[in-house]
Amino acid sequence: MALPTVLSSGYGLWDPILWVIAFIIGIVIAWMLWKSGVSSYKKGSEQGRPYLSGNAEPAKGEVHIRASNLYWGFTEGIKGYYQRVVPLHTGIATDYLLWIFWVTGILLIIVMVV
């Protein structure tokens, strides 16, 4: 069964099969690189331990970077935006309804006037 694979948008083309082939080639290359690594590595030995400037390795749980610490820089960077948008999510049910009514009102004004 001949499945059409080429996705055309009228402006560009996208062929997932080509992409998959390229992806497979990339994986093969990566595999070859991995193959050429040091073969004397042994799992579980001293070689596997992290080297932290000679300090002792902290407990397992401490190493993991928790979710709220991720993207700290990003949120700090557009702090002004977040300070405006986050307080809008008040959690009060009638505020949700007020938003709906305001959208209705504004749409009414737009549609009726235009």
Partner: protein
Amino acid sequence: MRKELSILIIVILGVFLALIAVDLTFGAPDNSAMDDYFIRNGQEQAATNNIVTTVVFDYRGFDTLGESTVLFTAVIGVALMYRKLVKGDADENE
């Protein structure tokens, strides 16, 4: 602030809804073809004197199935709210 916004939007919506009082005429519907059909033929087609029942159960019977289902859903929902809890319910609490 919230109070002012609320009153303002109530006024705006009220003004726009007043359109229905201006544009529609009470007591003299513009079009009534569908309902005239019901009133003319409902009694004979469904052998029923009450045209409302004819519409509810025959011409729009499927709506009534939906309507009963709404009530059923609500009742099951209420039952779900007042059910007796068991031990397994607490498993996913923080």
